[in-house]
């Protein structure tokens, strides 16, 4: 029986990008469906009734929600190629820890940089940049968090790079100037087709957010 894989996604979502990268790394054919998150499709509401959010991976009609959970599902089902998690249980725990760190910190502080002002924004900026430093420390001398190849943490983290222009413009800083090692890792990831084809251009994300801000009266 041929596998049927559908990805319900929204093009600027870093969480959706994670799954695009994993599916590409594993060479899995799938149907991509872009959702209008302000007008959610009946399919999305049926496949993710609890959170009503993208991304949703639908494998042979059965939905898997939450991007890190879907990444592990993809890794476990298509286990013949490009493993995301290592075999060792301690290294797996470390990878899960850092992916969780990305969810708890990078997304939250990044979001606050462009949605808040004044003291709150300054605090978010500082925390965001601190996280860059912590991640650089965790990366160490390895080319990727996964070692020689892209791993779970790389796939979890790299999508946020597509939002960096937005963060940098609102926060008035340059990640490359402050954390060149981090950007060196970004560049190594972007050399991979699975990554470069899964991330939208930073300008496109920036333009989209600016358009939404105007529409929502945030300007």
């Amino acid at each position: 029986m041929a596998d049927e894989v559908v990805l319900l996604d929204f093009w600027p979502s870093p969480f959706g990008m994670r799954l695009r990268i994993a599916l590409a790394e594993k060479g899995i054919e799938y149907v991509y469906k872009d959702e209008d998150v302000r007008n959610k499709s009946p399919l999305l509401l049926q496949m993710n009734p609890v959170h009503k959010k993208i991304p949703v991976l639908i494998h042979n009609g059965k939905p898997v929600c939450e991007s890190l959970i879907a990444l592990q599902y993809i890794d476990e089902v298509w286990n013949d190629k490009a493993p995301l998690l290592p075999p060792d249980s301690y290294l797996r725990a470390q990878a899960r820890f850092w992916a969780d760190f990305v969810d708890k910190k990078i997304y939250e502080f990044g979001r606050k940089i462009w949605t808040t002002k004044g003291e709150e924004q300054d605090a978010a900026k500082k925390e965001f940049l601190d996280c860059m430093g912590v991640l650089e420390g965790e990366l160490g001398d390895k080319p990727f968090f996964g070692g020689e190849t892209l791993g779970f943490v790389d796939v979890a983290l790299i999508p946020f790079y597509s939002w960096f222009l937005l963060y940098e413009k609102f926060g008035n800083f340059s990640v490359e100037a402050l954390h060149p090692k981090f950007i060196a890792w970004v560049k190594r990831c972007m050399e991979k087709e699975s990554v470069s084809k899964s991330l939208p251009e930073q300008e496109k994300v920036y333009d989209f957010v600016m358009f939404m801000r105007k529409k929502l009266g945030m300007e």
Binding site: V64, Q72, Y90, R96, F97, V134
Partner: protein
């Protein structure tokens, strides 16, 4: 396995440490328990969890693992007998989903009902009830979320049966509604009474007193 060193850094009233105790108990793993003073964190804790500085931390042969659900997965993958997560990848994804739902939706709503007053409190309690009702749909008619035996979601959520009822008593709210969520209510009873799990649970009256103390501080601050 003899010769292995397993240490758990925890706090007696921490529900997240309880999750780990339950998993270690179910796997019959011998370990050394280290009680942390959260007001005065030990150098050991700060060394083993420099990023979050929180309990629980499992230390296996000197190597630390932090974050309770991540620790559960580590325990399950390292000691393969008495499995906690199912074998099938889709079932595993479902178990992870519901454990995540508990932490992202149920727990914050219950905490919000505990820390707020008046309308805010009632709003949070209503949200908590709705989320618990949603959780019940994952249980269905099974004895445990894990099926016939305790599994990942049971270990992740069981503590709510004790804690939520303490919040109900102190904050005067309704969270676990026996009428609207009978299956979940019955499951709470079942999981907290399970012999292996029951002996790890902290004494209710001590927990009640401890929580009352917190509540006084929180509500005094906001009045």
């Amino acid at each position: 396995m003899s010769g292995e060193s397993v240490k758990l850094l925890g706090y007696w009233a921490s529900p997240l440490a309880l999750r780990v105790k339950w998993a270690l108990k179910l796997k019959e793993i011998e370990y050394q328990y280290v009680e942390e003073d959260l007001q005065n964190k030990s150098p050991l804790l700060l060394r083993y969890n420099p990023v979050h500085k929180k309990v629980p931390v499992l230390v296996h042969d000197g190597k630390p693992v932090a974050e309770s659900l991540i620790i559960l997965e580590y325990i399950d993958e390292t000691w393969k007998h008495n499995p906690i997560l199912p074998q099938d990848p889709y079932e595993r994804a479902q178990a992870r989903f519901w454990a995540g739902f508990i932490d992202e939706k149920c727990v914050p709503a219950i905490m919000s009902a505990f820390t707020n007053q008046g309308e805010e409190k009632e709003k949070a309690a209503k949200e908590a009830r709705e989320n618990l009702k949603t959780l019940e749909s994952a249980l269905g008619g099974k004895d445990f979320f894990g099926g016939e035996t305790v599994g990942f979601v049971d270990i992740a959520a069981g503590w709510i049966g004790l804690w939520a009822r303490i919040v109900e008593e102190i904050a005067d709210v309704n969270l676990i509604d026996a009428e609207t969520m009978p299956l979940l209510n019955a499951w709470f009873g079942r999981v907290l009474e399970a012999p292996v799990l029951k002996e790890c649970v902290p004494p209710r009256d001590k927990l009640l007193e401890h929580s009352r103390g917190f509540h006084k501080i929180l509500t005094a601050a906001s009045s």
